[in-house]
């Protein structure tokens, strides 16, 4: 499969190719949309049933009160991480290869966090009381327990969503202005509103660059903070298998790992269907694959440290929990996780595999499966085999929670499919910055 373009695109090519992605969609697009919408409708139906008949529909039994909902919540929060890493951290590191993929990654971040945000509500059962988590002055002087990591989560995730959204919108402004100038009618009015009066003057560019750098610097600590806080939901508890100092960096690395896999899963079809091979080149795939490989190796290091700590600690319960996970009811999930997260990405040591779209796609899907199961293995088997035998309990998924989890994927893809037809999924401005500027004498331009 050869995906390499023959020449370097010009500025006019960039305008044409990126704006082409916004043209009215064809049958294939609507077919995909319909499938995704149907799955989502199924998920909503299950949710409605859960609200109507109660949380027992989700198979919740003591001690398995977190089960699939919190597993999927952590999974989606993790997916969001790569977007911030690509858009902010790689921007600060002047990694120019990010220009072709960062817009899609940023959109992915926001949609992933929006999807994750649904799960605490679904999990709470009576989601109309979700505002209890927020500290607001009330008649009974009741405040949430600020010492609970669950409340830290509320602040960490809402901050993350706010900064990511602002950063995303700021990055879009010049491109939306280009869309405004190229469109007519109601579209033009909407784009004009979103372009915030952008004219592309020197003064505006100067302020824009400064603001963009500032937001990148603000967003960077969030890459560490958000998933660290999520990890502390577990690590602060004394449950065997949860109470570990490793958890914060271990979660952050896993989040970046799964986030990059999701970027690959989104970007590769985009490149194929929109013919964006001139912009998402082999070097981009190579860089993404390398990052997946590095984060996989770091994750393997953390898995080994986790096993080492359980054995070294001499703690009977830690050792028993580890032994139970490795050999009993959910052992298949643990070994599947090790295969997907530690073994499968090793193929990226081979240079050809790093630029082969099918290989990258398959490995990325495996990584996503592995990372979902990582969260499952942290939550379900740890709770299944706690300190006392009378608290032990196996979790069996029900159609309701499984349906809602599958529905969440449909919700995420629905948002993303909508996005690629409403907004430029490549940054017109930044892609042009990586190209030689147009010259009257084309031979001159070729030297740049």
């Amino acid at each position: 499969m050869s995906d390499q373009p023959t020449g370097t695109p010009t500025f006019a090519d960039v305008n044409r190719d990126v704006l082409r992605t916004l043209e009215p969609p064809g049958h294939r697009y609507f077919a995909w949309m319909s499938v995704v919408a149907l799955i989502l409708a199924g998920g909503i139906l299950f949710w409605t049933g859960q609200v109507w008949w109660g949380i027992g529909m989700a198979g919740k039994r003591v001690p398995q009160m977190w089960a699939l909902y919190i597993t999927t919540f952590v999974f989606w929060i993790g997916i969001g991480h790569a977007g911030t890493l690509i858009s902010a951290v790689l921007y600060l590191f002047r990694a120019r290869w990010r220009t072709s993929i960062y817009r899609a990654a940023e959109a992915m971040t926001i949609f992933a966090v929006l999807t994750a945000g649904l799960f605490p509500l679904i999990h709470a059962g009576r989601m109309w009381f979700a505002y209890f988590l927020l500290p607001y002055p009330n008649q009974r002087y009741l405040w949430p327990n600020f010492r609970s990591p669950l409340v830290w989560d509320v602040f960490a995730i809402s901050t993350y969503l706010s900064i990511s959204t602002v950063f995303f919108i700021v990055g879009l402004v010049p491109d939306i202005a280009a869309l405004r100038d190229a469109s007519t009618g109601w579209r033009r009015r909407i784009y004009a509103l979103l372009a915030l009066g952008w004219e592309g003057s020197d003064n505006q560019w100067r302020h824009y660059r400064r603001a963009y750098g500032l937001f990148a610097a603000l967003a960077t600590p969030l890459v560490l903070s958000v998933h660290s806080v999520v990890s502390w939901d577990f690590a602060m508890a004394l449950v065997p298998g949860w109470h570990s100092t490793l958890f914060a960096p271990f979660f952050v690395d896993g989040a970046i790992f799964s986030g990059f896999a999701m970027v690959a899963v989104l970007v590769l079809p985009m490149r194929h269907f929109f013919g964006l091979h001139a912009y998402i080149r082999d070097k981009h795939l190579d860089a993404m694959s390398k990052l997946i490989l590095v984060t996989s190796l770091v994750l393997t290091y953390f898995y080994l440290s986790e096993i080492f700590t359980a054995l070294y600690s001499g703690d009977h319960f830690e050792k028993a929990s580890l032994f139970w996970k490795v050999t009993r009811t959910y052992a298949w999930a643990l070994w599947l996780m090790y295969f997907c997260n530690c073994i499968a990405p090793l193929i990226f040591f081979v240079k050809k595999a790093r630029t082969h779209p099918v290989v990258i796609y398959v490995v990325s899907i495996l990584v996503l499966i592995g990372m979902w199961f990582e969260r499952f293995n942290i939550i379900v088997p740890s709770l299944a085999h706690g300190f006392y035998p009378y608290t032990w309990g196996i979790f069996v998924p029900s159609p309701t929670d499984t349906g809602i989890v599958i529905g969440s994927f449909a919700w995420f893809f629905l948002l993303f499919l909508g996005f690629i037809k409403l907004m430029p999924s490549l940054s017109i401005v930044e892609v042009k910055e990586t190209l030689p500027p147009p010259m009257r004498d084309t031979r001159h331009g070729a030297h740049h």
């Binding site: 602060m236 440290s305 700590t309 001499g314 040591f349």
Partner: protein, 370 residues
């Protein structure tokens, strides 16, 4: 100057030998261990940084990469010093004399020293092979085969470096108190060692420029400062990830580590000095420096880099000393200073040996990839 440093090293060695014969042998072994892990960490991490630059195809400064390689001159010395540590095992590791049955599979004499010395031999061997490969060929290599070979060596080096330095943290330091454990301690040791090496790299880069050995542009020095800043943040993040979980969990077997250090003098004061000198001051200065145009004067950068090195050295003291014995005080006696000066002298001398043996060219052309 070589003669002076040789003399300092000799005085350090004599002080160490005399100290072992005294009643305070545990104290002498403790300061020896602190020095071994500190200087060996610097020596092995220099090539590791060069390997990272090799794999990421960092073109921003081939000169800085060469400077990073020069710490490897200490590696043969480091191996000997690690082997000498074997003689002090009874004074440092309580489990040597009073085995802990639950941990005997990991904490037993043959396996422990096999890991320590075998791991070091393997890592140092690969480091030296990588250094020779980088110094032997042209920059950048004309032959893609050469680049592939270098990349392969770099991958092996980095994997070994993470494993071996983590094991130094778990084995040489954490196991002094065999009942206490933290899963992240190995990773923390790797990150803090990387931070010190970036501090050292900043100092060596500025010094190479000042002596006319290299002409590293201000933008490349700024990049070293950025990495120093990033590692300072990572160091504190790795500390905080352990501290918060242990404090919140409030399990006695874990909290005793912090109770011994944060609630007992002089260690409480040392903790604040490490935090202020090693993190707060560098963080504030580097944050200010990185938000502006790259400055031409680098004295403040060298000062905060020295702060970073000093603070991590003190942090190693802070971790090792109370674990060896609750009675050990701060190592501020003449013998402590002389032994530490001896290590410094050995490090400087071995770097000089490296320059005379390999004659590395530091003044490499910059491609301007900024």
């Amino acid at each position: 100057m070589t003669l002076v440093w040789t003399l300092v090293a000799a005085i350090g060695a004599v002080t160490f030998a005399v100290g072992l014969a005294s009643e305070d042998a545990a104290h002498v072994w403790a300061i020896y261990l602190v020095n071994v892990v500190f200087w060996s960490g610097l020596a092995a991490t220099g090539p590791a940084i060069a390997a990272m630059m090799q794999l990421t195809e960092a073109r921003w400064s081939p000169g800085v990469r060469r400077i990073a390689l020069t710490t490897s001159g200490f590696l043969p010395v480091s191996f000997v010093l690690l082997a000498v540590l074997y003689a002090g095992r009874a004074a440092l590791y309580h489990w040597e004399t009073a085995p802990v049955p639950a941990k005997a599979a990991w904490l037993n004499t043959p396996f422990f020293w096999l890991r320590t010395l075998g791991g070091a031999a393997l890592l140092f061997g690969v480091c030296l092979a990588f250094v020779s490969a980088l110094l032997r060929d042209t920059v950048p290599p004309d032959d893609p085969g050469v680049r592939r070979r270098r990349n392969r060596l770099a991958v092996v080096l980095l994997m070994l470096w993470v494993v071996v330095v983590s094991l130094w943290g778990f084995d040489l330091v954490m196991s002094i108190d065999p009942t206490w454990y933290s899963g992240l301690f190995g990773g923390y040791f790797v990150v803090s060692t990387l931070y010190t090496t970036f501090c050292l790299l900043a100092i060596l880069t500025v010094r190479a420029n000042a002596r006319g050995q290299a002409s590293i542009p201000p933008a490349a020095i700024q990049d070293v400062a950025k990495l120093q800043f990033a590692l300072a943040v990572m160091w504190m993040y790795f500390f905080w990830s352990q501290y918060l979980v242990i404090w919140y969990g409030n399990v006695p077997v874990e909290t005793r580590f912090f109770v011994q250090r944060f609630f007992v003098q002089p260690w409480n004061a040392v903790a604040w000095v490490v935090f202020t000198v090693g993190w707060l001051i560098p963080f504030v200065y580097l944050l200010k420096r990185l938000t502006g145009r790259p400055p031409r004067r680098h004295t403040p950068l060298v000062v905060v880099a020295l702060f970073g090195l000093f603070a991590i050295f003190l942090e190693r003291v802070f971790v090792v000393f109370p674990a060896v014995s609750g009675d050990l005080g701060l190592p501020v006696g003449a013998s402590d200073v002389l032994i530490t000066a001896g290590f410094l002298a050995l490090f400087i001398l071995s770097r000089r040996w490296f320059f005379s043996r390999y004659r590395p060219v530091l003044n490499l052309p910059h491609t301007g990839q900024h």
